[in-house]
């Protein structure tokens, strides 16, 4: 028969990670990280995107293999080579994109992962077991409901239940509250609290300060792959944590001459109370009011996943506004297509070029042409003037100082070259409105400087730029206005000279800050 979880059996007292190092091509994700996770404790792993939190936990869960270092369970070294191994030592992880099957019921999804499932399903028994565990920890769900019908909060409950029913003792939750509503967040905290008291060890990966302060017992802050600091709750204060998260080494400062603000002009881009409907795990935008004037760079700060992708897509017209209006160059573009937006002179550099804006099996040169085929079409469309394409490409790459091969398949380009390719392409026609999402991601210093330079130049020539970025240095240096996006809402709107990294950091992590007006 199916047993209820017994906290006393096979105690998992402490899981330690020592000297964990993991490198990916071009980036050192984890650099000599030490971490201790204790039972009956909530350990928060705090940091910006790219700090290495997810990678570290995926190593613990067996999703990645560590390059060097050791993992110890109850002081005994263990080898975790796959999620199967991790589950065998009772480590479980809930990912950001849930791994549930929508067409099956809750009970079926849970039964799928039960370790001792009998050949003939004992539906009553399984349901009973589910009720026991869910009742005990406040994870109430209807076992017979189809997963497709559940809300995000309920999906999360099921995911946690899945781990509990599979006898996990260490639960890793990756950004669990990213898509939850406020009351669902509170419910989750209660669940976590009950689990903790029952002896479970919980790791909370997050960038949200408020949550950390509310529910963590121990906090480790990661920054660019290293441990910036480990504190227990009583020692932790907001200011301290933020400075650990965001303290930047002073590199060569980006000096950009600021444009003197122009007289009253009509905005190039205006979003009035725009909301979008969130499909599944997307972040819905709520009541966005945004203006980009000519000769202006509006920077959008925020941790990735708080609505940045949706903001870019709704501006282009890829996603519908479920509410509100959108104006481009003064015209109502709310219901217009992407094609029309591009025709009017809007350029878009999306956050993930490989999946979002290129044709992988076509050559680079061909990719350069697909956003404006009308321009290069001759004989009414029967032929394409590749010469003209080449000339445009050459002009753009020369101006930017980029160089990449033109006649190979786009998918063979390195990440950096892909980014350069897309930037070069989008800036060819001197667009009036540029939406740049993570412009310099994957670029080396030279190319990053060149790309930023191009944006500034465009701005100086009267274009408007919506710059979505995670690089605070970049945002502060380039923006004329700085907006902070959190959970699909705009939570702050400043001139860079009126604020600082810490204040922005607060807002990016969801803390409320009273902006004290300096005289």
């Amino acid at each position: 028969m199916l047993k209820s979880p017994d906290p006393g059996s096979s105690p998992l007292n402490v899981v330690s990670m020592r000297g964990i190092t993991k490198a990916f091509p071009g980036v050192l994700a984890n650099d000599q990280i030490d971490l201790d996770i204790y039972a009956s404790e909530v350990h928060a792993l705090l940091g910006e995107n790219g700090a290495g939190k997810s990678t570290l936990m995926k190593i613990l869960y067996g999703f990645y293999r560590l390059d060097s270092g050791q993992i110890l369970v109850n002081e005994q070294p263990v080898m975790i080579q796959s999620p199967h191994d991790a589950r065998a030592i009772q480590i479980g992880m809930v990912f950001q994109d849930f791994s549930l099957i929508p067409a099956l019921s809750v009970m079926e999804n849970l039964a799928l992962f039960l370790p001792r499932l009998p050949a003939v399903l004992d539906v009553k028994g399984i349901n009973q077991r589910i009720q026991e565990v869910s009742g005990r920890y406040g994870l109430d769900v209807n076992p017979n409901a189809l997963v497709a019908q559940l809300s995000i909060g309920e999906l999360q409950k099921v995911e946690i239940l899945k781990l509990l029913l599979a006898d996990a003792r260490l639960l890793i939750l990756d950004e669990p509250t990213r898509v939850l509503a406020q009351h669902e967040v509170q419910a989750l905290f209660k669940v976590i609290d009950t689990l903790k008291k029952d002896g479970y060890a919980i790791v909370l990966i997050t960038h949200k300060l408020r949550e950390v302060l509310e529910c963590a017992d121990r906090i480790t802050v990661l920054r660019t792959g290293k441990v910036a600091g480990t504190l227990i709750r009583s020692e932790a204060k907001e200011e301290g944590l933020i400075s650990l998260m965001f303290e930047k080494k002073l590199g060569a400062p980006i000096v950009v001459p600021k444009k003197v603000s122009m007289e009253k002009v009509s905005p190039l881009l205006e979003l009035r109370d725009v909301s979008t409907h969130a499909e599944g795990l997307e972040t819905g935008l709520k009541g966005i009011d945004l203006k980009v004037n000519p000769g202006e760079i509006v920077g959008v700060a925020g941790v990735s996943g708080n609505g940045q992708k949706e903001l870019g897509d709704v501006t282009m017209g890829l996603i519908h506004c479920s509410h509100g209006k959108k104006f481009i160059f003064g015209e109502d573009f709310t219901d217009k297509s992407v094609q029309e937006a591009r025709f009017s002179g809007v350029a878009f550099i999306p956050e993930n070029p490989l999946t979002m804006s290129i044709a992988p099996f076509m050559t680079v040169l061909q990719n350069m042409a697909i956003t404006r085929t009308m321009k290069y079409a001759r004989l009414g469309g029967l032929n394409i003037d590749w010469q003209a394409v080449r000339m445009d490409v050459d002009r753009s790459t020369k101006k930017l100082g980029f160089s990449f091969p033109l006649y190979i398949l786009a998918r063979s380009l390195s990440g950096g070259n892909l980014q350069r390719m897309v930037v070069a392409r989008e800036l060819i026609d001197e667009p009036h409105l540029i939406i740049a999402s993570y412009l310099t991601r994957g670029l080396d210093v030279q190319s990053a400087i060149a790309a930023r330079q191009a944006l500034v130049q465009a701005r100086d020539n009267g274009a408007g730029v919506l710059l979505i970025s995670e690089d605070l240095e970049e945002l502060f240096a380039l923006s004329d206005w700085l907006i902070i996006l959190y959970a699909g809402k705009i939570v702050g709107n400043f001139k860079p000279e009126d604020t600082n990294v810490y204040e922005i950091g607060h807002l990016m992590t969801g803390s409320k800050v009273e902006h004290v007006e300096n005289q």
Partner: protein
């Protein structure tokens, strides 16, 4: 429209629909695991011809049924090898299997065209003993007919109440998650194909050995494709397939009924009704997750990373 005529329609629908239902049940299992078999027509023909041949040679219809069932399983294994192990395109593989079946069945059945065989006994539906001869002759069914509805329930139970069925459905929805739960999607798909093939073979046996009692080339007359449509119509559910099979096979019989009551609608147009119904069902329930196709139907599972 006499009572006799109505009963005649029902009887005809049951006789003709049984093989259709078996085939559909088999395809439901296959598609639930994520594989669509466009070669069902070929599978049916090979099963029918080999079963018929064996019956004729050995004199035992039961042996023939056994061979037919195994032949169906084996034919599906060909599809399995191509689609699972070689990761080939499911549609092209299915069509090739169909042509293969055309050819192989013609070869097997060549020397048996026109032969007579010992068929299965026909037993009267219990409870109708008191009726006049004219009626009872309509309701003498062979054992395979009596078995088909219990079989539908068995398939339902297999899919929804066993660990194997759960794993199979998981593979058909999201093979990666099924793999993460410790299952082997490739193995499960092979198993699904074999079981499904056996059911198709059973349907072919009923058609050739019990019902028609002869063999001609292309005798399955599109039942393979009808089954694929039926699976969609029943929204991949074995119990709904019962209703579907009745509707589909009744279309033919229904024509006679209409004619005998003086209504003149072209039999051709009536034949299209089942497919039109399926299309309407698809369009009406297109967005609804509960009624839609298994999520990874038709897609190749690339294996673990």
């Amino acid at each position: 429209m006499t009572l006799l005529a109505i009963f005649g329609v029902i009887s005809s629908a049951i006789f003709s629909g049984t093989s259709l239902l078996y085939t559909t049940l088999g395809e439901v299992i296959d598609e639930r695991s994520g594989i669509v078999n466009l070669g069902l027509e070929g599978v049916l023909l090979v099963s029918a011809s080999s079963g018929f041949a064996v019956t004729s040679l050995t004199g035992s219809p039961y042996l023939g049924i056994l061979v037919s069932v195994l032949a169906g399983g084996m034919m599906n294994m060909i599809l399995g090898y191509l689609v699972i192990s070689r990761k080939a395109n499911q549609l092209a593989s299915g069509l090739a299997l169909m042509f293969f079946g055309f050819g192989l069945s013609a070869l097997i059945g060549k020397s048996f065209v026109g032969t007579k065989i010992n068929s299965l006994p026909r037993l009267l539906l219990p409870g109708l003993e008191g009726l006049p001869r004219l009626y009872t002759s309509l309701f003498k069914f062979d054992p395979l007919i009596y078995l088909v509805i219990p079989m539908a329930f068995l398939v339902w139970w297999l899919l929804f109440r066993t660990r194997w069925g759960l794993g199979l459905r998981a593979v058909g929805e999201n093979a990666d998650i099924a793999y993460a739960s410790g299952r082997n999607p490739h193995l499960i798909r092979y198993q699904a194909l074999f079981v499904g093939g056996m059911l198709a073979g059973l349907g072919a046996a009923q058609l050739a050995i019990a019902y028609a009692m002869n063999w001609t080339e292309y005798m399955t007359a599109g039942r393979g494709f009808i089954a694929v449509a039926l699976v969609i119509f029943s929204k991949w559910h074995p119990l709904r397939a019962i209703v579907g099979a009745l509707i589909f096979s009744a279309a033919v019989a229904f024509q006679l009924l209409l004619q005998s009551s003086g209504v003149q609608i072209s039999p051709f147009l009536l034949d299209t009704i089942p497919y039109l119904l399926t299309l309407i069902v698809l369009i009406a329930w297109g967005g609804n997750r509960k009624h839609s196709a298994p999520a990874s139907l038709g897609r190749v599972y690339q294996g673990s990373e």
